[in-house]
Amino acid sequence: MKHIEQTDKGNGKEKYRGLKNCFEPKKNHRKEELKKELDLDDHKLSIKELEKKYGTNIITGLSSAQAAELLARNGPNALTPPKETPEIIKFFKQMVGGFSILLWIGAILCWIAYGIQYSMNTSSSLDNVYLGCVLALVIILTGIFAYYQEAKSTNIMATFNKMIPQQALVIRDSEKKTIPAEQLVVGDIVEIRGGDQIPADIRLLSVQGCKVDNSSLTGESEPQPRSSEFTHDSPLETKNIGFYSTTCLEGTATGMVINTGDRTIIGQIASLASGVGNEKTPIAIEIQHFVHIVAGVAVSIGILFFITAVSLKYQVLDSIIFLIGIIVANVPEGLLATVTVTLSLTAKRMAKKNCLVKNLEAVETLGSTSIICSDKTGTLTQNRMTVAHLWFDNQIFIADTSEDNSNQVFDQSSGTWASLSKIITLCNRAEFRPGQESVPIMKRVVAGDASETALLKFSEVILGDVMEIRKRNHKVAEIPFNSTNKFQLSIHKTDDPNDKRFLMVMKGAPERILEKCSTIMVNGQEQPLDKNTAEAFHTAYMELGGQGERVLGFCHLYLPADEFPETYTFDVDTMNFPTSNLCFVGLLSMIDPPRSTVPDAVTKCRSAGIKVIMVTGDHPITAKAIAKSVGIISANSETVEDIAKRLHIAVEQVNKRDAKAAVVTGMELKDMSPEQLDELLTNYPEIVFARTSPQQKLIIVEGCQMQNAVVAVTGDGVNDSPALKKADIGIAMGITGSDAAKNAADMILLDDNFASIVTGVEEGRLIFDNLKKTIAYTLTKNIAELCPFLIYITVGLPLPIGTITILFIDLGTDIIPSIALAYEKAESDIMNRKPRHKKKDRLVNEQLAMYSYLHIGLMQAVGAFVVYFTVYAQEGFKPSALINIRVEWENSNVNDLEDSYGQQWTWYQRKYLEWMGYTAFFVGIMVQQIADLIIRKTRRNSIFQQGLFRNKVIWVGIASQIIIALILSYGLGSVTALSFTMLRPQYWFVAVPFAILIWVYDEVRKLFIRLYPGSWWDKNMYY
C-alpha cells in the first residue's frame, strides 16, 4: 500500500506539473505550460502497469475507503467554476469608469459648494444640492445601462458545467454501484453503455463495438471507434482513451478513470479558455483614448480657470461652481450610452445578415480585422462530398459543384457515360430516406456514407429516379466496401429484357480497380488496356488526387450468359464469379466543394487588405486545393514546393522569397520557434495551415497578434474555444458549433458561411466611420457649452447657460440625432481600403478634435452668443451694459438694478431673464446642432453626393431635437426648477444664419479635401 501511494505521488507530481503551475502568479508561464500538447501517457501503459500506478484492480475496483481517501485528496470530479467577480463589484466598476469619475467630482463639488454656502448662510438655496443629485443620477443611470449591457455577455463556464454527466456505473469493493459522477476518483473502474456520457477521462480496458462522439472535443464529426489497444502516441488520437463529457454512441466499454475534474482534458481546455485573458477590444481602447482626451481637456481647462478665478479675486465657492460648470460642459454625458446603442443597432443589423454578435464591442473589432484565421470544413466548404470531376474516354470532365448542382453540362452522349452512370447508380448502397419527394435533391437526407451519398445525389440529378433504376436492375449479390478489399461490388439482372446476362459492377480505390481490369471502355467500345491508356489513367488519377479530391475507379463486366444462367446462385463468400479481367470504365472524383459565395468573399477580403489564413485539420493536399479554389492561394502564386517541382530542384535550394504561398503542416509548426513563425507570417501573404491540432491554433493566433494584427478566428469545437477566446474576435459556427465554442466566441455565424464574415467586416468598418461622426457631432457643442462659463468668469456677463440646461442638451436633444448617425450609409466603398492600423488610425484623432472644438464648436458658440445678446438687448440690457454686471446681477439684495434704458429690475425679474437667456442659448445651440448633424453625415463627400434624404433617421433626429426643445420651452417653461422659459418665436431663428454658415464652411472644407488630396488642407482638415 505504502509503495503504491509513493508511486502515485511521484506520478502525480510529474503528471500535474503543468497544473500546479497554473496557480503560480506568472500568467505567461502558465499559458506556456497549457499550450504544450497534453502530456498523458496512460494510454501507453499495459493494464498491469495501470493497476500498479493507480493502486486498483480491474476486477474488484477500488475499495470504498481508498475511494474516499482519493476523493478527499483530489476533490470531486467536477469542473471548478472560475472565480467570479461579484456582481456588485462589476456594478460599481461601471459607476467609476469612463466619464463617471469626472461627473462624480462634479457632483461632490456641488455638495461641497452647498456645504460652504450652508456654513455661511443656513438658508442658502438648494440649487447645488439638486445639481449634485442630478449628476449622480446621470452617472447611476448610465452605469446601470452599461452594467445591463455587460451582464448580457454570457459566462463561458456555464456550458462546460452543463456537460457533466450525472451518474456513473462503477465497480467498487467488487460490486457494481451507481454513484454520482462527481464522486469518481482516479483508479475507479467504470462501465459505459451506448448513450452514456463518459464520466471522466478513462483508459478503456475492454471494448465491445464502442463508438464515441468526440466532436465537442476534437471537432471530428464522425463517430470514432474505440478499442483497448494503444494506437497512437497522442492521447487525443489513440483509441483506448475516452474523454470526459464526450458521448458514447453505441456499444459498451469498461475503463479505468485516469483523470478527474479539472485535470481531465476538457477541464484543462476549460481552464485554458477562462485563463486566456479577454483582451480589450480595439473599440474599447479607442473609447478609452477618447475619454482620456476629453477628461484631459476638461480637467486642464477646469483647473486653469479655477486658478484664474481665484486670482481674479473670486470667492473659492464661486470658483468651485465655475469648475462644476466647466466639467459638466466638457463631459459628453450621453455619448457612452449612444455608442452602446449605436453598436447594438449595428449588431442587430448584422444579425439580419447572419452574424450574431454577443459582445457588442466586437462589432467594430470585426471591421478592424486584418487577419482572418478560417476553418475549412463547413466555413469555406459546403461540408458535404460532391462529385467534382469525371474521367472517361481519356478526358477529364468537370461536374458542377455549386450548392444546387443543377447544371451538369459535361458531355453525356458517349456510350462510356451510359455504362459509367449505370455503375454509379447500381454499385451504391446509399438510399434516400423516404418521404422527401418535395425536397430538392441536394437537401434530401440520405442513409449512407459521405461518398455514396455524393454519388447517389449526383446520379439522381442526372438520371432521375435512381431507386426506380435500381429496382429495374435487380440486385442478386453484393460485397460491401471494406478496408482490406478496398472495393465494392454488386451483381445485377439488367433491365434489358433481351439481355439475359448478369452485370457485375464494381467501384473502389482506382489502382485496385485497374489491377482487376484487362480492357478499358473508350467511346462505348471495349478496348484492350495497353500501356498508353494505363498511363493516361495514371496521369488523370494523379491530377485529380493532386487537387485533393477523393478518387474512385469504376469498372464492370457482363457475365457470359452461358456460364452464368439466370438461375445461377452467386455466393459472395466463395466468390464463385470472376473478379478480374474486367472492363475499366472511368474515374470519378469527389471533394467537399467550396461554397459558391466564398471566392467572391475572399477577393473582397483581399481588396479590403485582410489576409485570410486557412487553418484546418485536413490533409495538406486537400487544404491546398480548396485554398486554391477559393482564392486563399491565388491562381498565380506558388509555394516553395511548387517552385521546386517546376524547376526540378530540391526544396532547400529554392529562394524562399520567390514563394508567395505556404502550406504548413502541424508537424512543421511544432518544430518552429516563435521567431520562425513570425517570419512565416510576415513573409507569406498566403498561408494554409494543415493537419493542425487545436492547441496549435492558439499558437497561430498569438503569432498573428504579435504582429499587431487584429485577428478573427473561426471555430466550432470545444477544442477551438481557447483560440476563439484569445482571438480579437472569435467567430463560432452557428450550425455545427459546439456550445463551448459559441460561448467563447464574440460572434456566432448563423449560416456557417465565410461570406457572412465579410459582410460583418463591412458593417464593422461602417460603424467605425459612423462612430467617428457621432463623436465629432457630440464634441462640437462642448465648446458652445464651455465658452459661456469662460466668458462668464472673465467678462462677468450674466451666466449664458445653466448646468441643468447643458444636461438637457447632452442627454435630451442630442441623443437621438447622434444615434441617427449610426444609420448613415458608407461614403465610398469601404471594402477597398486597408484595415485601420490599431495604433495610428484613432477613433478620435487630432484633426477631429481640432475641427470639432476650434472650428465648428467655436462657430456654434458665436452663434449662440448672438442669440443670447439679442434676447438681453431686446429686453433692455444692451451688450455693453452686461459687461462686468455679474456681481450685482447675482446679488439677491439688489432689487433695483438699472438696465440700458434706465428701467430697474428686481432680482427675480433678472433671474427670469437669465433663464430666458439659458433657453435662448440652448435654442441657439440646438439650431446649430441641426446643421452640425447634417454636415457630419459625410467626412469627405458633399452632402449632395451623399443625399440629404437617404438616411431618414437623421430627419427623425432633427425632428426630435426640435420637438424636445419646443416641449422644454413651451411645455415645461413654467417649471422653475428646470430653468426653461417660453421664448418668443423669432429667437428660434436668430441662429439659423450661423447654421447655414456652418454648413457652407463644411462644404468648402470637403470640397478642398476632394480637390487637393494629400495637401496641407487634407492633412489638417480630414478627420
Binding site: K838, A873, E875, G902, Q904
Partner: protein, 290 residues
C-alpha cells in the same frame, strides 16, 4: 497583443514625450515642423479674425435694430419692483433692528437715508421742472433741451418729517423710524387708470386683537403723483428721479420682531407673485429694542 499589454516604463514615456516635443529626425516640434506651425497659426488667426468680424457685424446689426428710447420687450417688467431704504439685508430678506437707546446701532441706518436723499437735493434736480398736475405727464415730442423730455422734480423736502431736514435722525431716536419706499422705473409704465398709486404699510401677520400699524405717510396720503409717469427711459429723461413715499411707523412694539409689508396699491401693480417678494411690495423685519 503583447505589444499593447506592455506597460511602458516612466523613462520610456518621458523619452517618447521628448521625441514628441522635438523630433530631430524630421525637425518636428510637437508633431509639426516650424513652417507647418506657422501655416496652421496663420490659418487659425485668419479664421478667428473672420469669426470676430462676423460676431461684431451681428452685434452691430442688432444694435441698429434697437429702439434707443424704448426696449423692444418688457416681458419681465409687467409690474414694478419696490425697494426700501434703509436697506439692511439679513439671512432672508430685509432685516432691520436697532436699539433706541444705543445710537451706534442706528446711526448707520440714518446715514444710509441721508446718502440716498442726497440725490434728491435741489442741486441735483435743477434740470427738472416743477409739476403740479395730478394727471399723467404725457410727452409726445422732445421739447426739453438736447432733444430730451422733461422730468418732474421730486425734492427731498416733499417728505417733510422724513426728509431728514427737520429731523436728521428720521425718527429713529424716538423709535418712530422713517422708511423710504421707492417704486422701480419701467419705461412707459402707467401704474393705474386714474388714481395715483399709494403705499400701504401693515403688519404682515396681523392678529385680530392686536392694534393695527399706525403709519404717517409723506407726501400726505402716501401716493406717487401721476405726473411722474410715464417714464420715457434714460435717453429721453436723463434727469428723471423716482418719486418716493416715506412711511413713519408710529406704534412699532418694542423688543419684538415684527414683519411689516408695504404694498403699492394701484390698478396695474400686482403684489401676488409667489416667486418675487419685491414685486409690487416690500417686506421687512423690524426689531426695535429699548
Amino acid at each position: 497583443m503583447a505589444a499593447l499589454q506592455e506597460k511602458k516604463s516612466c523613462s520610456q514615456r518621458m523619452e517618447e514625450f521628448q521625441h514628441y516635443c522635438w523630433n530631430p529626425d524630421t525637425g518636428q516640434m510637437l508633431g509639426r515642423t516650424l513652417s507647418r506651425w506657422v501655416w496652421i497659426s496663420l490659418y487659425y488667426a485668419a479664421f478667428y479674425v473672420v469669426m470676430t468680424g462676423v460676431f461684431a457685424l451681428c452685434i452691430y446689426t442688432l444694435m441698429c435694430t434697437l429702439d434707443p428710447y424704448t426696449p423692444d420687450y418688457q416681458d419681465q417688467l409687467k409690474s414694478p419692483g419696490v425697494t426700501l431704504r434703509p436697506d439692511v439685508y439679513g439671512e432672508k430678506g430685509l432685516d432691520i433692528s436697532y436699539n433706541v437707546s444705543d445710537n451706534r446701532t442706528w446711526v448707520g441706518l440714518v446715514h444710509t437715508l441721508h446718502d440716498f436723499l442726497a440725490g434728491y437735493s435741489p442741486a441735483s434736480q435743477e434740470d427738472s421742472i416743477n409739476c403740479t398736475s395730478e394727471k399723467y405727464f404725457f410727452q409726445e415730442s422732445f421739447q426739453a433741451p438736447n432733444h430730451t423730455k422733461f422730468s418732474c422734480k421730486f425734492m427731498a423736502d416733499m417728505l417733510q418729517n422724513c426728509s431728514g431736514l427737520t429731523d436728521p435722525n428720521f425718527g429713529f431716536a424716538e423709535g418712530k423710524p422713517c422708511f423710504i419706499i421707492k417704486m422701480n422705473r419701467i419705461v412707459n409704465f402707467l401704474p393705474s387708470n386714474s388714481t395715483a398709486p399709494g403705499v400701504d404699510c401693515t403688519f404682515l401677520d396681523q392678529h385680530k386683537d392686536a392694534r393695527p400699524l399706525q403709519v404717517e405717510y409723506y407726501p400726505p396720503n402716501g401716493t406717487f403723483s401721476l405726473h411722474y409717469f410715464p417714464y420715457y427711459g434714460k435717453k429721453a429723461q436723463p434727469h428723471y428721479h423716482n418719486p418716493l413715499v416715506a412711511a413713519k411707523l408710529l406704534n412699532v412694539p418694542r423688543n419684538t420682531e415684527v414683519l411689516i409689508v408695504c404694498k403699492i396699491l394701484a390698478d396695474h401693480v400686482t403684489f401676488d407673485n409667489p416667486h418675487d417678494p419685491f414685486e409690487g411690495k416690500v417686506e421687512f423685519k423690524l426689531n426695535i429694542q429699548q
